[in-house]
């Protein structure tokens, strides 16, 4: 946990934070609304003896008292997908409309792709991209199991991605950059998540992340939305990346609230200071909602 000590100045109730990081994560699933309503999914799980606790902020997020939700009929029917609670936040923040074209820049293994497809009622197009072909096959398996029809899968480096494969699409309506990151926030499920973590590793990831985010802004139409998210606490991969992209592109940060407890994004870190609007980003800490750690920022493309 040493790698977390540098965050003591920015996290309230730091003892509570560390204690939460030591506890295992609750098992949660997301109901697939393309197949079923949350009520019926809860009923079917209960019929198999699986007790369910529903989350208030999102009726489709269920805590289940089994660590094998995959061995149930609701899973077989594609009614539920194992997805960590806080990982359901970014598609909610993106909030696309039916008919939209959405770019999912770093999409594998696809939990959020399927959730975006659900957000658009599976009507429109979700371009699910990843540079890792092996992980894309897991994404295809997940989208197939969940009956997602609206996804097109591409295998490119998101920093240089184009929409050339879709000649009729000039720009996307929305984009999600769920970036490759140091994953510090997954410490509750991966004991080795903090190996190699630290400011310098995070700074080099920050360059990759900023290039992907800038690309997402470039591919999105004026007035469209881009959400940037990571599962790390590191400001070098979060606020610093968004701050740089705000400077490089025509975009601005907008406020959001999904109904979970969170802390505002930082405007200062060490010697660095960031645009005041970074307070509109949100940091989700493990001790806030009994989840993993997450960061999300919502950008509007202005030109």
């Amino acid at each position: 946990m040493d790698a977390l000590s540098r965050y003591e100045p920015i996290i309230d109730d730091f003892e509570g934070f560390l204690a939460a990081c030591e506890r295992p994560l609750p098992t949660t699933v997301r109901v697939n609304p393309l197949a079923v309503t949350p009520d019926r999914a809860v009923e079917a799980l209960a019929a198999e003896g699986v007790a369910v606790d529903r989350r208030e902020w999102h009726p489709g997020v269920l805590e289940v008292d089994t660590n094998k939700p995959g061995n149930t009929w609701p899973y077989v029917h594609g009614w539920v997908h194992g997805q960590e609670e806080v990982s359901c936040v970014p598609p909610r923040v993106l909030d696309p409309e039916p008919g939209d074209v959405v770019w999912d820049a770093c999409a594998a293994p696809g939990g959020k792709t399927a959730q975006i497809a659900a957000e658009i009622d599976d009507d429109g197009l979700v371009v699910a991209n990843d540079d890792n072909l092996g992980r894309l096959s897991a994404l295809r398996g997940n989208c197939d199991r969940l009956g997602v029809t609206s996804a097109a899968v591409t295998n490119t480096d998101a920093r240089r991605a184009t929409l050339d494969a879709f000649p009729d699409v000039a720009a996307v309506d929305a984009a999600l950059v769920d970036a490759p990151c140091s994953c510090e926030g997954t410490i509750r499920k991966n004991a080795d998540a903090l190996d190699g973590a630290g400011a310098s590793a995070s700074r080099s990831l920050g360059r990759l992340q900023a290039d992907i985010l800038a690309r997402a802004v470039a591919l999105t139409r004026p007035g469209g939305t881009v959400v940037y998210s990571t599962c790390t606490f590191a400001p070098e991969e979060n606020e610093a990346v968004v701050d740089e992209v705000l400077g490089r592109t025509d975009s601005r940060l907008v406020e959001f609230d999904v109904g979970l407890a969170s802390a505002p994004g930082l405007t200062e870190w060490g010697d660095a200071s960031y645009d005041d609007s970074l307070a509109r980003a949100q940091r989700y800490y493990p001790h806030h909602n009994d989840t993993g750690g997450f960061f999300a920022a919502k950008l509007e493309v202005t030109a």
């Binding site: 029917h77 996804a151 591409t154």
Partner: protein, 168 residues
């Protein structure tokens, strides 16, 4: 006529007269097949564009991307053609099979549904057509398709792919 290129997505021709790739199924034939075999509404694929990639694999996408596109996957695989008997995919049975009114085989006993999911073959007395059927069971008061089976000689053979099989 040109040959089918199994690496790229080609749009299904609307009708036989518009076919330019030898052996490619038409959109009309795909809709006819689903409605004849399973009695689903004719509107089943109305809001989808239909594509072929790989020999006879038909994909459905609720969007029109214009030209054929160079991507890894385009929507959902719904049907395998280019074999004597066309065969729906497991997920198409689940996703589009809820509206089926014909050739749906009910597995009312819990162990029948479990055996089907485990990939087993079972003897079942049933008076429907031989061929590919949608196997379904009741879950929370509604009939839910599990997948595709092959029914012949009083036997139901499960077509649930290996990776999707489970033993409960």
């Amino acid at each position: 006529m040109t040959d089918n290129d199994s690496q790229t997505f080609g749009r299904l021709p609307a009708t036989d007269a518009e076919r330019s790739v030898a052996g490619r199924p038409t959109r009309a034939a795909v809709v006819d097949w689903w409605t004849d075999r399973f009695g689903v509404p004719r509107t089943i694929f109305e809001s989808y564009t239909l594509w072929e990639k790989g020999a006879g694999k038909v994909w459905a996408l609720p969007f029109d991307p214009g030209a054929p596109v160079p991507v890894e996957a385009l929507g959902l695989t719904v049907l395998r053609t280019r074999q004597e008997h066309w065969k729906p995919t497991t997920i198409a049975a689940q996703r589009f099979g809820r509206e089926a009114t014909r050739n749906v085989l009910r597995l009312d006993e819990r162990d029948q549904a479990a055996a089907f999911l485990a990939g087993e073959e079972q003897e079942i007395a049933w008076d429907g057509d031989w061929g590919y059927v949608i196997a379904a069971h009741e879950l929370t008061g509604r009939l839910e398709p599990i997948g595709v089976g092959l029914y012949t000689y009083g036997t139901l053979q499960s077509m649930v792919p290996k990776g999707r099989r489970r033993e409960f």
